[in-house]
């Protein structure tokens, strides 16, 4: 169990973060570049010192301004992986993984067998004598992970663990990463700005902006109910509209240009300007208007089709630009093409207002 509550004045803003991660759980920190995500990791591992606050890991106080405690980095027993992996270029794979054990003065024979066993487990045995400069991105990540996990740390911090990899190995490494984390059975914090990484790794998500956590919760909650424009932008919700709210016998309508949509959200105040978001996967496409319980139905014309593997992304001009995502199968069955007249249907509950 990790519990953190720290404050630090940075050049551009005051970083003020409190969070806790339970044993075996993964917290994913997301946010724009410069939001202070990596700084939070550095404050926890001790590479930076907070101005005030507390860091407690497994019941052990690592930092406490009140009690004047500041455990040195090397005694915190925290695995910290850097975006660049920071593998020592002058050492072999074996010596990189053995580095921490050597710091702990492990007897040589024990050290050699431990490292060998570990390299085998991580599928790195064949690279033992290799200089790290000769490794691929995925191999580097594995070595960095092995180097940290062999020390049986009490906490794992990962700073953009997959950013340096190509898309293809990202998927593989994401899976491996998840396995390693769950196998280690320790709290983990992952910093990322990749949407898929969040869904794959996170038990909880914390969204950071300007040094503060602005929203936290399980991934689906954060992504389906973003509470500020920043998160909506960040999570790739492509349908964001600016409109004016009006209320009629409890039903909120948002007028966007010449069109209006109905929302079930109650954060709409009469006459105010608001943002409305609709997730592309919540927008239904049909050839003819459908009668259903869904409150919103708009006619439009397809202006763009983008293939996305299993999914197809349609851009529809319905007085405003609305993006819809449907499965490739559904797309092919309907035989849609650019210029077609279609109807968009979505529920009032799918229209989020903030």
């Amino acid at each position: 169990m990790l519990s953190v509550c720290v404050e630090k004045q940075l050049r551009d803003f005051l970083l003020e973060v409190s969070l806790s991660v339970a044993k075996g759980k993964t917290l994913v920190l997301i946010g724009e570049n410069g939001a202070g995500k990596s700084t939070v990791l550095n404050l926890i591992s001790g590479l930076l010192t907070p101005d005030s606050g507390e860091v407690i890991l497994k019941g052990r106080v690592l930092y406490s301004q009140a009690d004047q405690i500041d455990v040195a980095v090397e005694y915190r027993n925290i695995g910290h992986l850097f975006q660049s992996y920071a593998l020592f270029p002058h050492l072999s794979v074996f010596d990189n993984v053995a580095f921490g054990l050597r710091c702990r003065k492990m007897p040589k024979t024990e050290l050699v067998s431990r490292v060998r066993g570990y390299l085998e487990e991580m599928n790195l045995a064949g690279l033992s004598g290799e200089r790290v400069g000769n490794l691929s991105g995925g191999q580097r990540q594995r070595v960095a992970l092995a180097r940290a996990l062999i020390l049986e740390p009490d906490l794992l911090l990962l700073d953009e663990p997959l950013a340096a990899l190509d898309v293809k190995s990202q998927a593989t490494m994401r899976r491996e990463l998840r396995e390693s984390i769950s196998l280690a059975g320790i709290p983990a914090i992952v910093v990322t700005h990749n949407f898929e990484e969040v869904l794959a790794l996170a038990d909880r998500v914390a969204v950071m902006n300007q040094g503060r956590i602005v929203q936290t919760g399980p991934p689906d909650e954060v992504f389906h109910r973003p509470n500020c424009e920043f998160i909506a932008h960040f999570t790739g919700i492509e349908n964001i509209f600016r409109g004016v709210c009006s209320k009629d016998s409890g039903i909120s309508t948002i007028t966007i240009g010449s069109r209006s949509i109905i929302t079930a959200s109650n954060s709409c105040k009469e006459g105010t300007e608001v943002y409305a978001t609709i997730r592309p996967e919540d927008v239904l496409i049909s050839r003819t208007p459908v009668t259903s319980s869904a409150r919103n139905s708009l006619p439009g014309r397809i202006t763009g089709i983008a293939n996305n593997g299993l999914f197809v992304k349609l851009t529809v001009d319905a007085g405003m630009r609305i993006v819809s995502v449907l499965t490739r199968q559904g797309f092919e069955e309907m035989g849609l093409s650019v210029g077609d007249q279609v109807h968009l249907t979505f529920k009032a509950a799918a229209v989020h207002v903030f």
Binding site: A72, V73, E74, H80, F82, P89, H90, F99, C103
Partner: protein, 264 residues
């Protein structure tokens, strides 16, 4: 222009200039070797003046390089990794000996450590004399040669990505261990080439040495001083010493090139 000349044309056009310049550089060096017979060279090596100078030079240059590494490394690291008020001034001070004429360095050292110098005065009261001793030779070499190491070391330390040091600390290494097991090995080629250049500069030191340490055979007469002295007597001895210095210098530069080119 490029159309008319091409790359080969350019080389042809500039070749006479290049050849002329290379000849200017190599003919004097070659002349050293041409002006003395191998037998005379070997005979000179038996001359105690030559032998004393050779041993003294190698000994003092080695010691002064060791001192520069010992004293200069912490300073270089500090300047590479931290900022403090007056850092630029400190940096300029350590660079100063490079642009200072050796004669100026010599007289400055004399004013400091000479018998009636600012510090030497007090040392003299305890019966300690520095000027005109072997120690003076070493001090002069340290003074003039230290910038070569310090500049190179600072640049090499700066080039070491801090993340390596951070990573080492999270793995359980204390600051000293991080320095010796991570920073120094990564900066190694730069540190070595800086040390070699310092050694070479110390070996060639003349002006400051002759003013501050004097010219006593076996005590302060290093190779450059011995060349200067023997030239007035037996030219063969001077040439032999010069040849030895040229060979060492050539070897040193070659070594630096080899070390700095090799990837870590």
């Amino acid at each position: 222009m490029r159309e008319r000349f091409g790359e080969n044309g350019l080389i042809l056009f500039l070749a006479p200039l290049i050849i002329l310049f290379l000849l200017f550089l190599t003919i004097p060096v070659a002349s050293l070797f041409l002006r003395i017979s191998p037998a005379a060279f070997i005979e000179s090596l038996g001359n105690p003046v030559v032998l004393d100078a050779l041993l003294l030079s190698l000994g003092t240059a080695t010691l002064s390089t060791a001192i520069v590494i010992l004293m200069g490394t912490p300073l270089s690291y500090l300047n590479a990794r931290t900022t403090y008020p007056g850092k630029e001034v400190v940096d300029t001070l350590t660079d100063l000996p490079i642009v200072m004429p050796p004669a100026v360095a010599g007289i400055a050292l004399l004013m400091a450590f000479g018998r009636r110098g600012v510090i030497g005065e007090y040392l003299d009261m305890f019966g300690l004399q520095i000027a005109f001793t072997t120690l003076a030779v070493i001090l002069a070499q340290v003074f003039v040669a230290s910038p070569f190491y310090i500049r190179q070391a600072r640049a090499s330390f700066e080039a070491v990505d801090r993340t390596f040091e951070d990573a080492a600390r999270t793995l359980g290494a204390g600051r000293l261990r991080v320095f010796f097991r991570v920073t120094v090995p990564i900066a190694w080629s730069g540190l070595v080439s800086g040390a070699i250049l310092t050694f070479a500069r110390a070996l060639g030191e003349f002006g400051a040495t002759i003013m501050f340490a004097g010219n006593f055979q076996g005590r302060t007469q290093t190779m450059p001083l011995a060349i200067y002295t023997t030239m007035q007597g037996d030219l063969n001895d001077a040439i032999s010493l010069a040849i030895i210095l040229v060979i060492i210098s050539f070897g040193v530069i070659l070594l630096v090139k080899y070390i700095t080119r090799r990837p870590i």
